[in-house]
């Protein structure tokens, strides 16, 4: 279900807001959890089971990762953390890359005359985003930054919160843990505060990004031998604008929706096209992703590796997340980061 679809705007959102406003305030997380799973199931279908399975594993093992005053078995906790993260990453890798890997393997095998079958797995919507949330949850609990969630509704509300479930912003557990346990009572105020942001995002998406989409498609569909300078420039400019207004529009809608439900989600954009360097651009574009990689990949790596090594590894792990076609982008970004640092 898309935020910009009639089903969401005319039926789903009003129903959820009415339920949140009308029900007792301590029901909020439960309402949000049910609504989020319904929202996801409408778009993802059977792959909702994968989300549920990942949530069960992380929810059940989360409390065992908490440090306590005695902490007699830190090695056991660490092994458990590594195991849970390995599970989360394995799910992401299998569903994202198994098809690609099997096609490559079949291609190689065909050179030797073998006929290998290929795998085709439907990519679950938002799998990257809920994987990031799971990892953030277990790592923050392991570090003792926030306690594990014992309430199932609160846990589901964090992992599957529908405003940010399918495309972010990525919310680190420690950023929202207190909001999950402390339910505010100013619900109409929250709706009044969140609606303008949601409306701004809707305008960005529907009026600007969607209007430019057919133009971008026409430019990018032009065969290479017919491509002219004007078409190439028009395509590049239109796509630059479409991408920014589409994604920042989504983020505005997500932040506004989150606020209407009583959650303050982190910002995701800060005028990225005014950046003066690659480093600054990634601090301003999809900021929640950059912060996630900084906190959970770059800083831990920095304890044992050099700065350039950490940067290369961070970009190297970030680009596969975007898809195998983005590997060159990751390499160019890490090159840009290192060049900017040396400048």
């Amino acid at each position: 279900m898309s935020f910009a679809s009639p089903l969401f705007l005319w039926y789903f959102l009003p129903a959820v807001l009415a339920a949140v406003v009308g029900a007792p305030r301590h029901w909020r997380n439960g309402i949000v959890a049910i609504a989020s799973l319904a929202f996801y199931a409408v778009g993802a279908g059977p792959t909702t089971l994968l989300l549920l399975a990942c949530m069960v594993v992380n929810y059940v093992l989360g409390p065992a990762l908490e440090p306590d005053d005695w902490d007699l078995e830190p090695k056991r906790r660490r092994r458990l953390l590594v195991g849970v993260i390995a599970f989360d990453v394995a799910v992401l890798v299998i569903w994202k890359y198994a098809g690609f890997a099997s096609v490559q393997a079949a291609g190689l095998a065909s050179l030797t005359g073998l006929d290998l079958p290929t795998i085709s797995l439907a990519l679950p919507i938002g799998i990257s985003f809920y994987t990031f949330h799971h990892i953030s949850y277990v790592v923050d609990v392991y570090r003792g930054e926030r306690p594990a969630l014992r309430n199932k509704a609160s846990f589901v509300a964090y992992i599957a919160l529908f405003p940010q479930l399918v495309a972010g912003p990525i919310v680190r557990y420690r950023e929202i843990a207190d909001q999950l346990t402390q339910v505010r009572s100013h619900r109409l105020d929250d709706i009044a505060a969140g609606f303008p942001r949601f409306a701004l995002g809707l305008i960005k998406k529907v009026v600007i990004a969607d209007s430019l989409a057919p133009l971008v498609d026409a430019c990018f569909a032009t065969p290479t031998d017919q491509l002219t300078t004007a078409t190439a420039w028009l395509g590049a400019i239109a796509y630059t604008l479409q991408l920014y207004f589409d994604f920042s529009g989504y983020s505005d809608m997500a932040i506004g929706l989150g606020r209407m439900l009583g959650f303050k989600l982190p910002e995701n954009f800060a005028r990225p096209y005014s950046s003066a360097s690659v480093t600054e651009f990634w601090r301003r574009w999809h900021m929640s992703l950059s912060r996630w990689f900084r906190d959970y990949v770059y800083i831990p790596l920095g304890e044992t590796a050099t700065v350039s090594g950490s940067l290369t590894a961070t970009c190297g792990s970030c680009s596969p997340w975007s898809g195998y076609g983005m590997a060159p982008t990751g390499r160019s970004c890490s090159g840009g980061f290192i060049t900017a640092l040396c400048w």
């Binding site: 303008p196 701004l200 969607d210 430019l212 589409d246």
Partner: protein, 94 residues
Amino acid sequence: MIERRSGWGVADLGGLTDAVSASLTHQRLAILLLASLASLVFLLPAKPITDRYLESMRSRPAAVLRIGVMTVGLLYSALLVATGTFSPFLYYRF
């Protein structure tokens, strides 16, 4: 193949392919120009220019203008959504 849109008073768009020319309607051209103008704010250096510009937009007339634009934009968006013109978000693929 080449279509000159003299009625809009813009530079000759010669060089566009037929398919691209056909998709560049007046409405899309207007939105492309408006979005480009709006993005000029983003393209300018942040510290000396953009911040100051955005700060000046916090006055009462600017707020009234912003509310007006938002209202019109929201109604137009609702109209577009009702006609079923929305497309999936680009970042859904991740």
